[in-house]
């Protein structure tokens, strides 16, 4: 049965405008030719229930900026756009909380809260990125050190389960242990358990002062040591170490907070790392580097690395030709490996081995790779002992494998 035939009953049930046919969109080589556009949570719930009934598999899509992360889809009949679930319906400056629809662009949300001297604690630079996408994929950036992880920013979620129920978890208050913390499960689940409809967020007060500095290149060991020390200064909210193949390690640091603390740490960075004021877009370039690849034949890995191993890991990765971006305050390293060709499977296998050799156990994700490399491979490296639990969760939340089948850890 063609995808069009498969989707026909869905189009009929959902009415005009809900289903858009378009040119093929490739997700790791799997072509998707249609997108569902639920106008609200109720429509989304109806869609998912119908999809389950008709055996249709869908890929939730926010701004599409992180659609490439994950395993190659086992099936993909349709994209599920959250674009229409857009808008900030509650913003309470007195509380420092807001609620927005999943399809709300982070940039829009950021502007709204900034006007009242609050900061949106998501460090995603791409203008197209949406709240739902950032939560579902647990997107981070250099400022995540100061902002906190997406899991810790969410107060409550509305989630439409794969089985079509509209559910809520958490709440709108900043402290809450009412029931199981399902928000933690949904955040970072890449839409495999449900589709986020909206979220309550805890905002952060805008800092009194911000300063951006950069330190000149240094050898890897002293640079890592300096970066770790810098990352642990009280006003540092972002600290990035950058190393291109064979070059020295540069450090970019953003400080934010009360004027006295920032001032003190600026002096410390000047003295200790010979840091100087950085161009205004220095951190933006870090963010772009984190999320981008150089050309179509590059692999991008995200590795969890403990501070004590940072220097050795960086040296090893650099020796094997990787471009490196490390966030010492987050225990995180991004390593980019260039392949000779898109189907250089041997080179890819070497890169996977190199990354796995230095990542902490279970803390490796290949975020970007050519389609040929992804075929038959699990880009997540988790503890196999946990797969039965995770598969059982998927089975209970998405028994018909409607959402993102095959794309998550262990082929879930």
């Amino acid at each position: 049965m063609s995808a069009e035939q498969m989707l026909a009953p869905l189009a009929e049930t959902l009415g005009p405008g809900a289903l858009e046919h378009h040119d093929p969109v490739s997700v790791d080589g799997v072509s998707v030719r249609a997108t569902l556009h639920p106008r609200d949570g109720r429509a989304l719930a109806q869609m998912l229930a119908e999809m389950g009934r008709h055996g249709i598999a869908g890929l939730p899509r926010g701004g599409g900026t992180r659609l490439g992360i994950g395993n190659r889809p086992a099936r993909a009949d349709v994209l599920i756009s959250t674009r229409k679930l857009r808008g900030v319906d509650t913003f309470e400056p007195a509380e420092g909380v807001c609620h927005a629809g999943a399809g709300t662009p982070l940039a829009e949300l950021r502007d709204i809260v900034r006007a009242q001297r609050w900061e949106l604690p998501f460090d995603v630079a791409d203008a197209a990125a949406t709240l739902g996408g950032a939560l579902a994929s647990a997107a981070v950036g250099p400022r995540t050190q100061g902002y906190g992880l997406p899991r810790d920013v969410v107060l409550g979620l509305e989630v439409v389960l794969a089985t079509g129920e509209r559910t809520r978890c958490g709440g709108r208050v900043v402290k809450n242990v009412t029931g199981y913390d399902l928000g933690k499960l949904y955040t970072g689940c890449f839409g495999t358990l449900g589709v986020i409809e909206g979220a309550w967020l805890r905002l952060r007060p805008a800092p009194e002062r911000v300063a951006l500095l950069e330190a000149p290149g240094a050898e890897i060991a002293p640079a890592c040591e300096g970066g770790l020390e810098a990352a642990r200064r009280s006003s540092v909210r972002a600290c990035a170490l950058l190393c291109d193949a064979g070059a020295a390690l540069r450090c970019v640091v953003e400080l934010a907070g009360d004027a006295a603390s920032v001032e003190r740490d600026v002096h410390w960075l000047s003295d200790r790392l010979r840091a100087v004021p950085a161009p205004a877009d220095a951190l933006l370039r870090v963010q772009r580097r984190q999320c981008g690849t150089q050309g179509p034949h590059e692999l991008r890995f995200r590795l969890g690395v403990l501070p004590a191993q940072l220097s050795a890991a960086t040296q090893q990765l650099a020796a094997e030709g990787a471009r490196i971006l490390a966030y010492p305050g987050l225990n995180l390293v991004y390593a980019h490996f260039a392949l000779a060709e898109a189907d250089d499977l041997e080179g890819a296998a070497r890169a996977f081995r190199s990354a796995a050799a230095v990542a902490s156990p279970g803390a490796l994700l290949c975020e970007a790779a050519p389609e040929a490399v992804k075929r038959g491979r699990d880009v997540f490296s988790g503890d196999p002992a946990l797969l039965p639990l995770m598969r059982a969760l998927k089975q209970r939340f998405d028994p018909a494998a409607v959402l993102n089948p095959g794309r998550f850890a262990g082929g879930i």
Binding site: V177, G179, K184, P361
Partner: protein, 477 residues
Amino acid sequence: MDGLVRELRNVVGEAGCLVRPEELAVYQCDGLTCHRADPVAVVFPRSRVEVQRVIRACRAAGTPFVPRGAGTGLSGGALAEGAVVIECSRMKRILEIDTANRTARVEPGIPNAEVSKAVAPHGLHYAPDPSSQLVCTIGGNVAENSGGPHTLKYGTTTNHVLALELVLPDGECVELGSPTGWASGYDLVGAVVGSEGTLGVVTAATVRLVPLPEGVETLLGIFPDVVSACRAVGGIIEAGMVPAALEIVDQRTIAAVEASVYAAGLPTDAGAVLLVELDGAAVALAAQVERVRAIAAGAGATAVEVARDEAERQRFWRARKGAFGAMGRLAPDLYVHDAVVPRSRLPEVLERICAIGDRYGLKLSNVFHAGDGNLHPNISFDRRDPDELRRVFAAGAEILELCVAAGGVITGEHGIGNEKRDFMRLVFGDDDLDAMHRLRDVFDPDHLCNPGKVLPTPRFCVEANPKARGYDRVGFE
């Protein structure tokens, strides 16, 4: 049951297994003394392997089991009716302190404060600090996602647990999370923290350590009423400050504290006191103190004192931390309630809570984490008086309804336990609860692990209003 007890004794030894009624009486309740039930046995395993063997023995006998820390919980989460209590006090070792990576791996029975004490020489501490931190255990904290006065700035347990060793309800053991904080797959650590011991038994935890603050300043503001103290809290938050703690003690509590051994020298005619703790870079604190002082004065404070030394800081905190002990003078029992409302709704909600207490003729006072809207209405009562007990529960139910109607939730840090499971429907609908059941069923399909907690039963109960379920049916004496 004899066969089970024999097997349990095989695992933990004769001395590690209590079965006599007089021994079990201690384990009839946790800190919520008005809910009681009899366990069939209490075991004290010494290792993860013993926990696994105990669980397998219970499963084979079809007997439920309940993990228990120090029993300081305040929601009946450790109630073990007809169940085996797995008491973790023999598993209290610090397995590793890794100062380079700022983590510690500990067994579940170690008291919270012991972790901070052990790492203090390295300039570090474990941030979550429940009021019972001298005795409450890390395992219990993980189960309850415990908070404390300083969670306004530092977060709750879930923000500080990186990895867990968990014995599943089928006896298998898994390692969840990663000391790096980055693990592939679903965030199972996030799901287990705060699950109130219903998803398995934690046998080791890797926790994050954070630096001791470079400087601390503690202020005590005296206010004519709670409303003006709350106004000061709002002003501090709106000024973009994130104090380590923002605590309010109301007039009724002040009176009780000042009449007790915890007396802190507070004016008994004050309507409320606000305790503000600021910590961070020493260079920044002086300016912050002045800002808080100005905000408090603007909100109506009649006096603002700044602690001159550690002794004075401790005196200020006595007003807050001694509150629960001081209540012992008022009545034999204390019901420490727990709910959360949006911060800006605190004044009106508090007024109505006091009115509820008065209407039921109860001794009700308030001590609360004002910075995060976490209320603790305390009701002093005598559980031997059935009528008073009925009024306590009725007032408690109204308070929860009030808080939910104000946009809040029914617990901020004590958990649902046995106490509030039937109030879950005030907050969540059937589909929301069904999603939670799905999680529970994956970990514990036979519902042997701390049954009857967190989720209301039976599933899809048609009684939307917990009042209809009757408060006189809870298991108090």
